[in-house]
Amino acid sequence: MATFFGEVVVAPSRAGLDEEEEEREETPEDREIRRELEKKREIEVLWSGLAQGPLACSRFVVAIGRNAAAFLSSFILDSVCWEVVGVVKLWNEWCRTSSTTNVLPTDSFCLFYRLISDPTVLLCQCSCYVAEDQQFQWLEKVFGSMQKEGLQVTILSTCPVADYKTQESTLTLASPFLKALKTKEFQEQVCCPLLEQPNIVRDLPAAVLSYCQVWQIPAVLYQCYTDVIKLDTVTIEAFKPLLSSEVLKSLVKDASESTKMLKKFLTATESHSNIYI
């Protein structure tokens, strides 16, 4: 296949397996490099101030991506009712997180919060990218620290509307919009239509939902299809129907606080996007 510039490019196979990789035997040096890389890419989950043994958890809300995380910051989280109880340290080619808990909405981080009045309610904001080879580790280390009995999981995530498969063109769709996927055990009402085939969800949200389906944990994923890649208040507000769900309605903070928070996000994004001062 020739490209615009005339050079020949091998069309990538949908099968995804690089053949040279499969034929080459691993030398001891290769093995050493691979092990070092694997060690560097290991995820660390640091819990603070918790009792030993698995966390008792009744509700676990995971917000994956900047906009989902900002939704929780705007409408649910505050420094009075919630305390930070955990942080994920990871490194990959796209981002690096640290163990600091003092973060900006545009940073890459993965933090866990607990409701002080009901310590079985946990929230996670994961705005960093968790790579393919790290997703399973994230699952095992996070869920491994929790009691699964009586647990219900809610996942919030965003993805480009261009990925949405539909008979019409995506240009005519009113985005952002929400779609849901739920596990077999999830019996409650969902706040938006279910995601139709042939659409699928990938990455960490898919990993968490798969885990819940296999281990029979009631869970629901709310995927927001949006045409904005960066932090965006319209996308953040697209998650608002969730505020009337069983899981979140008792956790919603004051409306005036939410408006203040959203205004902060607006200014944070605008100053970066304007190159003509």
């Binding site: 949908r14 063109s169 085939q197 994923l221």
Partner: protein, 268 residues
């Protein structure tokens, strides 16, 4: 590892003694996976469990074989197991590619499950790059088979009767005539590894593959699944003169929009 859907089933839920395990290799054109989709959809197979692994890229979606509103909301993940006990058939469907460096652990986990679940034999549906064929392979049928020595003893004769062509070995160093001949399945993903491991572990395995290229691989899937049907007789085959050899297979509802969305009206 295999995790049954029905926890209450006890150890019997994981026992596939005497069953044939059908599975795809993630290979060029995803032909094996498409063919397995046709089998699951046509035989209306029931999901019996998941193959929970860290070796495949995670993905989820709603039921890809939905036929009505009621059954469209069951969640599916990247590796699931279906069965139809009346045909002693169990099927593993794989829906995503391997995570880097994880294909070997996956093969090990899979073959260890095959032994543990007491499957009688494994049939792998796969494909290989059409552009890598040599002059002789360019002529005649694009379909090939391979049998491990243990399965050769059982069904080798049947393959002769069906007039099937065995996958040729190629020279280890092309162009040099007196080198060893080796098995080479370019674009076949883990097919070769699964086959060679099964040979050495005494597992009865058959590989059915088609030479193809990336593109619209639906016709390739139909050809491969009809090839499989010549042997396993999963559905009643149409007569040889029928022009529509695809009519006995049911296309799953998830095969919509494979090549993109509808066009924006403003384009015209």
């Amino acid at each position: 590892m295999f995790v049954p859907c029905d926890r209450g089933g006890g150890p019997a839920a994981s026992d596939f003694k005497g069953f044939t395990l059908l599975m795809p290799a993630v290979s060029v054109g995803n032909v094996g996976q498409l063919a397995v989709d046709l089998v699951i959809s046509t035989l209306d197979m029931t999901k019996v469990g998941y193959f929970y692994t860290d070796c495949l890229v995670p993905m989820v979606g709603n039921n890809p074989y939905a036929t009505a509103e009621e059954n469209s909301t069951e969640l599916s993940i990247n590796a699931e197991v279906y069965s139809v006990p009346s045909k002693k058939l169990v099927v593993l469907q794989i829906r995503s590619p391997f995570i880097k460096n994880k294909y070997r652990p996956f093969c090990e986990a899979l073959l260890s499950w095959v032994k543990g679940s007491r499957c009688a034999r494994v049939v792998v549906l796969s494909s290989s790059h059409a552009y890598q064929r040599d002059d002789e392979q360019l002529l005649g049928t694009p379909l090939r088979y391979l049998l491990t020595p243990d399965l050769e003893k059982a069904v080798g004769g049947l393959m002769q009767e069906l007039n099937w062509k065995e996958m040729e070995k190629v020279a280890a160093y092309p162009g040099i005539s007196d080198t060893d001949k080796v098995l080479h399945i370019p674009g076949g993903g883990i097919t070769k590894l699964l086959f060679t491991e099964s040979c050495s572990k005494g597992i009865q395995m058959a590989v059915l593959l088609k030479f193809c290229s990336e593109g619209d691989n639906i016709p390739d899937a139909f050809v491969l699944v009809n090839y499989l049907n010549e042997w396993l007789q999963l559905v009643k085959s149409e007569s040889n003169n029928s022009t529509d050899s695809s009519s006995q297979w049911k296309i799953p509802s998830s095969w919509r929009l494979l090549f993109g969305n509808g066009l924006p009206p403003a384009l015209f």
